[in-house]
Symmetry: C2
Subunit: 336 residues, 2 copies
């Protein structure tokens, strides 16, 4: 591989001039610039990234930490992030923290060693101590997307989970439902607690008491939706007529549970999901759900991070709007 020296020789100038022609063209005469560019093409030069990174103490790499790659919810977010990152000349490293929370630590340690320039958290599963500690460091660009921590003031771009949940419940109530169950994600997760609060507020405002067993906790997966759904629905005497789920996967799990219990959706039971993943349009019945602007979230979060890396200040919290997508899994409450 030709180096900057070869270019300098071919362009009959110093390596400093070549470097400047590339990094800050305005510092170089038009004619020299031209000469350098020709020389670059001639010798087939492309800069050695390791050398550049070493000298500049940067890596042009952004780490995205997420709980589970295989969750299709994240893919559009990642796409949005990659678009922004690539066009700013950054690479993206995807860190799956699924199994091992200690992996997060390994990813965090990439920053002080200049192996990464910033981190985006798509999860609040990373131990708060670790995040807190990192955030306190002066030069540790760190933002979140979709999620947030209760006690850590990390810039985040997310939706209004309280309002979105409330909207879903309002909608169900407008269909005549009053017995509405909820299958949440892990309650350790602040966004899930927000959604639960939205659910509770809507129920309370409508003057409905909350039967404790109607509030169940899952882990966003098909399987947990199915299991919690079975338990929620098995007791015919005390069965909700609608279920609000914190993920589409869980909602689809509930659809399966309902089929197993011979419940018609939406005749006997309305089901509403969250995220609007691809499947939600192809399950039976098609799923009513809340859609998040996933691509926008990704883009905006990455912009924020790059701004912080560039030394700018960014808003502590940006709220993007959601949309209720009504499909077939919700209908009027059954008349008793």
């Amino acid at each position: 591989m030709p180096t900057i020296k070869d270019v300098a020789r071919a362009a009959n100038c110093s390596t400093a001039t070549v470097s400047r022609a590339l990094a800050s063209p305005e510092k170089v005469t038009a004619s020299t610039r031209e000469r350098v560019n020709r020389a670059i093409a001639e010798v087939g030069y492309s800069p050695n990234v390791a050398a550049r990174n070493l000298r500049r103490s940067e890596s042009r790499t952004i780490v995205i930490l997420l709980p589970d790659i295989s969750n299709p919810f994240f893919s559009a977010i990642i796409n949005g992030m990659e678009d922004v990152a690539h066009s700013a000349g950054y690479q993206v490293l995807i860190g799956d923290c699924d199994l091992d929370p200690s992996r997060a630590e390994a990813y965090f340690s990439l920053l002080p060693t200049n192996q990464a320039d910033g981190i985006i958290l798509l999860t609040s599963d990373v131990p708060a101590v670790l995040v807190q500690q990192a955030h306190r460091r002066p030069d540790f660009p760190l933002v979140m997307a979709c999620e947030f921590y209760d006690d850590i003031e990390l810039p985040t771009v997310c939706i209004d989970n309280f309002a979105a949940a409330r909207h879903a419940i309002d909608y169900l109530q407008s269909l005549g439902h009053s017995r509405i169950g909820s299958i949440s994600g892990p309650l350790l997760n602040p966004i899930c607690r927000e959604r639960v609060k939205g659910y509770q507020a809507a129920m309370k405002d409508a003057g409905q008491t909350l039967a404790e067993p109607w509030m169940r906790e899952g882990d966003f997966s098909f399987h947990s939706g199915y299991q919690q759904g079975l338990q929620l629905l098995e007791d015919a005497a005390n069965r909700p007529t609608a279920v609000f789920c914190h993920s589409d996967e869980m909602a689809i799990g509930v659809l399966k549970a309902a089929r197993q219990l011979d419940l018609d959706v939406p005749g006997d039971l309305s089901v509403i999901g969250f995220d609007n993943i691809g499947f939600s349009e192809y399950c039976e019945p098609e799923l009513t759900t809340i859609s998040q602007p996933r691509n926008d979230i990704g883009q905006q979060a990455m912009k924020n991070l790059l701004d912080i890396i560039g030394g700018k200040q960014v808003a502590a919290r940006q709220i993007l709007s959601t949309q209720l997508i009504v499909r077939e899994s919700t209908g009027r409450a059954p008349t008793v």
Copy 2:
């Protein structure tokens, strides 16, 4: 950040000794090693990766090129690859070529510039010229997984697509089906052509003629399965009793088409998918499908690549076995 010099000072030795103590401990006395390790802990040293990479002309980064991150089929494969890569001290860069085939070129160009040490292709959509050209280079570690090119001898680990398809059709025939349709992935793709051949062979062996309109081409997506399914099934007079799809997503699209046409699955129509994605267990009815050992494929492909990087020779083609998973979407052929 402390450098190797600081460690050398603290351990009262030269930087060379520190470097050796880390890279090849056997070249250093036990006592020195001990002293160095203490010094490292004391000053809180961790090696500067950019400097190391510069010196060694490597990057410890592997690129995985795939057609579409959001396809859940790939996630388990990626996990398998990451496991192997991480424990060998490599990072993984995921390259989505979804939209723009020119992106592949950008990823390929990471190798000659030492920004990546090897590439795994999970797609045969990358222009063959590019691949051919890269493969001819002496030092261009490149392997495939799941897929292959007809005319390029790239090491690959995949399944026997011909046999798997044939197995699926045999199974349908054993249920009494003789009118079996097929919705393939893009026929540009060699693995799809293999599957089609397997389908054709099984049909021919059973003495069945292939009605041309029963062989349809999709693109692996829900939507294409739905569309092709509608067309395949709309003509009641000339309708297959079973459909073999090259992806679960397409099979689920067919389920939707069948519902729309008021066909009972598996009463009127059997449907069989490919890949055994998570959703296949939660759709209605649950999908019969062919499962690939995705994690193994990922692990093995990454091992191959690392072997090649390490200068070893690897098998041109490794075939891992598939499994037919029978669920609810297949049943006996309807009696006429």
